[in-house]
Amino acid sequence: MTTFTHLNVASAFSAHHGTARPEALVAAQAAFGARAAGIADRDGLYGAVRHIRACLAQGIAPIVGVSLAVLEKDGRAAGRITVLAHGHTDGSGWATLARSISAAHAPRGKRAVGLLRDRIGHLLRGADGATVTVLLGHDSDVGQAVATGDLPRARVCLSWWKGILPDSLAVEVVCHYTEPGEPASLRHAAQMLELAEAQDVTAVLGNAVRYLEPDDALTGDVLDAASHLSALGAFTPQPNGQAWLKTPDDMHALARRIVQFSTLPASTAPRLIASTEHVGERCTLDPDEDLGWRRAKIPENEVIGLTGDPNAVLWSTAEAGISERFPYADTAELTRVRTRMRDELVTINEFGFASYFLTVADVTSMMRGMGIRNQARGSGAGSLVNYLLHISNVDPLEHDLLFERFLGNKRETLPDIDIDVESARRHEIYRAIFERYGSTRVSLMAMQNTYRARGAARDAGAALGLTEDQITFVAKNIWRFNARDFRDALGRKPELREFAELLHTDDKLDMLVDLTERLDRLPRHVSMHPCGVILGNNDLYNLTPVQPSGMGLPMSQFDKDDIDDVGLLKLDVLGVRMQSSIAYTVSEIRRLHGSRVALAGNLPLDAPYINPDGHLDVDSIPHDDEATYESIRTAHTLGMFQIESPGQRELIGKMQPTEYNDLIADISLFRPGPMKGNMVAPFLDAKHGFTMPNYLHSRFRYFLGDSYGVVIYHEHILRMLHECMGVSLAEADELRRSMEKNTDSIETNFRTRTAANKDSVTGKRLFTDADIERIWLVLKGFGSFGFCKAHGAAFALPTYQSAWLKAHYPAEFLAGILTHDPGMYPRRLLLAEVRRMGIPILALDVNKSDGCYRVERQAPQAPNQAVDGTLGIRLSLRDVQGINEKELQRILLGQPFDSLTDFFERAKPSRSLLQRLALVGALDDIAATSIFGDGTAAGEPPPTRGDVIARVRQLTAANRRVHFPENQLDFTVDDRHLIPRGNAEFTSEERVHAELSILNMDATAHVLESYRPLLDELGVTPANELLGLWNKTEVLVAGIRVATQTPPMKSGKRVVFISLDDGTGCSDSTFFEEAQEATGPVLFGTRLMVIRGRTRRTGERGISIEASNAWDLRELWTQFGSPRRK
């Protein structure tokens, strides 16, 4: 069997260039019988770790390189080269590769990515001999010179390279059979080979691969169009489709043909193949030696201020945490705590993970030092050590969480600890981490963004030269399906009906469908991961190439799938807006109420979680507050973390939670698996007492009590396996993991061991055959749907905290969510909730508004009186469309302003900003009053909105800016006599229109009010009256779309939920298939809707609408208006 090693292969991680995943390319080469496989992506190692992993899996040797541009001093590109790392060099080849790539990305103005020619020697030539090989291919400077027929220049270029890398340079001979004379033509390849022979430089054969199969070449054309940002035909396309992964036989034949076409002897062909293999061997990596494959590399002990044995330090730190976390524990509880702690520490120390835990603890303690809220998420919440170290705020003993789910026996890579922080301060944390651990040990993590249906359709459409309107029409109607199933979806989805019709007559659209399918899942561009920070040791930058990120800090080219294999520590520091909202709410509460915080929140005056100075410790509030559960049960959950979506509102309405465990269950149940597995109904039935909980077996009662006997959590499954099979919890977790892949894989083992499980005293079987049958069915049915309870418990914490704050401090809380916008809904809906709760919305005012939503006391606080009813929320200047940070700061620093002129002079707003402020009424107040008192003549009304706008026009008219002399800057003027009078006042429609277009919110009245005559004529039912209707009443509802969801359904059929807000509340409509058919494109394409359907009771406080049809409200309005105008 002939073999051939491809050294130069670009995978799909060469964005907008390659079309095949490394795994597919490696598998194909393994099938060819290749000894080794290379990868050389453009500008980086984005696909390198996957490549190595795939090679290891296929049992072939990995070769890794990169394709980089060479840049002359003036920034001119001088071709591309391929740099391959030498293997078995104790990582020095890899380090040279990584550092060269980082240098190529180093920011120097707007320069393209590439190696500066005068730095190449320094970067690529090691002190102790070469550690990389450079390939000069058809697109190198040498190749370009050959193509232009300038052989003397080609010789000079080649000599230059030979001077830099005398013993690790190769000319890469590439033949794509392009037009004779062009780079990669047969003629060109022959000349390259001749040149290498003449100059005594090694020649290798390559195919500059960018796709797996010939058919992928068309995908390549589309990617080229996306990268050129122009339509096919508007740029020079690739010359042909030869850059596929050719077989060894193809490559050998190619070598012979090139030699035949040259002036060289036939023996040159086998030599060319042999030297290719030779270079390949030199570049074969040993993942263990060269990368320390899967070996942990974390910051050195001294960096985290650790002296002495990390195990001992971890032990004493955890011990110290006991008195902080369990100040009131009795002896029995303390014994439980200590035993659990010891068990966990033994496992942690056996793995050698002590310094890892200390590192994470160090990071979280740094965050607390900065006063930033943080909260561990995920299975890490199951660890008591994490709780004692203040990494997590969830007490695993309180919720019966298992450490083994987090860290079992067999884990060899570092466990994940994810930390949620205040989103608004996330970058602050990143910078602090860089500062603390040194910039040589930290980088941000990359994220590969891949093509999804909409993006794929957009780029495919642009490549085909469709108009923007056509592209938008298609993209708008694409809704949650895989791009690769586009054609299939056309026949099934009613919203695509119109589009499917067009395909019969429009070839381009037909092609669009095929091309969209081709682009699906291809990497599109790399960006900063929203939360990943990578920590390593001092050698981090020898391991990962870095490039500048959006926020300026260096970003690794590795993504989340790479981190484990290269042994780096990934901290998921996720910015969570809800954490910012909570922090903001707490600060507003303290600012407003000071020492009266408890009183204002209707809380016990001696509540231990409230400091005398008014600071509320949200992490210490009791978890059994009845007012909180009552407020959740109303299903008015807007703003409450994770339980505000329409589907969740329905579930909450049915469940009527009464305790913290219910919240954990709610969050765990609201997922595809449990919904399909019908775990919800048995839970609800047992909770509401319609059925008795079924614990399956008496031995399960002690752990299934938290879910009324329903198997919901991984922790349940671990315990079931543990009880049945007599295995340890750690072993049980391994079994659970294998069940996730294939439930049946453990069946025999389960049955045998459970049957053999006998009471140690009586010697009787603990489980009868019938028991085993029953338990197995449950495991089989629910086993793969389980949810990690630790995860649920951690998730439920902000849910509970936000609900608690909303129940006790509604105005402050809503100001917090308006400011940080944490949820799924548009701000205007949050404002509607403010209105619904009867909290006054205070108008935007340049003198009173801040850069955030402030709670304002409307009347002075009366002595001995709670403040309820006198708090309002002032709109924020930050949400004025087009305001920039500088303008905002000038306004905030300049407050208060005496007059319009004063505002104009000192705040220096742009003309358009001033006009917008006038339109939304933010200037009404300063126009009407003055520090000189109410100067208007008796009986004279304040200026109208129209008057203010007229005055603003005067002020902003060209060359009319009034400049006061320097020495009069402090001199205040009363300019009210300059305000033109007699202009019309705004109607309420005009106000709402201005608010919607400038603030994106309807602040004074709901947008739907503008359509009132039509709604009245149609007889539309307001959302808040739905609950009073009989089941199955035929109704019409109207409103502005606030959410569209297509959650997973038990039947597997698609169901679309649409929520509309009409100012009185939200209506939730369900569209089954028939209704989707009837509705067509209106389903996803319109914002203001009218829906017809029948009411459907979903619980004590839940009602939804089963829709039969829907219309675009604005279209109805036009139809409604036109006959009238006649």
């Binding site: 059979y177 037009e179 042909n240």
Partner: protein, 111 residues
């Protein structure tokens, strides 16, 4: 110069053209024929489907570049370089003379 006219071609066992007849004149190939592959603008061709895995043959046009001399008399004879497009192996069909380049002709045209 773009020609795009069908021609009849005589080939060697390797598939390389050795003689062809264009506008009644027989040309004899005098250089080593160089194979190359050109491409089509598949996106501007009507009625074409480009589904994944079904369009391998859609992009490429195999060509031969030859220098050739007229061997017979005729109205128009030229001595130059020719690109001949090979008929698709699967469907058969005619060879097409895609371009012809002649220094003499260029001189006449652009003098």
């Amino acid at each position: 110069m773009h020609i795009n006219e069908t021609v009849s071609v005589e080939t060697l066992p390797s598939g390389a053209p050795i003689r062809f007849v264009w506008r009644g004149v027989t040309y004899g190939v005098v250089s080593s024929p160089e194979p190359w592959i050109s491409r089509r603008s598949w996106w501007s061709e009507g009625g074409v489907r480009v589904a994944r895995g079904s369009a391998a043959g859609l992009l490429e046009v195999p060509m031969w570049r030859v220098d050739a001399l007229p061997l017979t008399d005729g109205a128009q004879r030229m001595d130059g370089t020719f690109d001949l497009a090979q008929p698709p192996a699967a469907t058969g069909g005619d060879w097409v003379l895609v371009t012809a380049v002649s220094e003499e002709l260029d001189e006449r045209l652009f003098a």
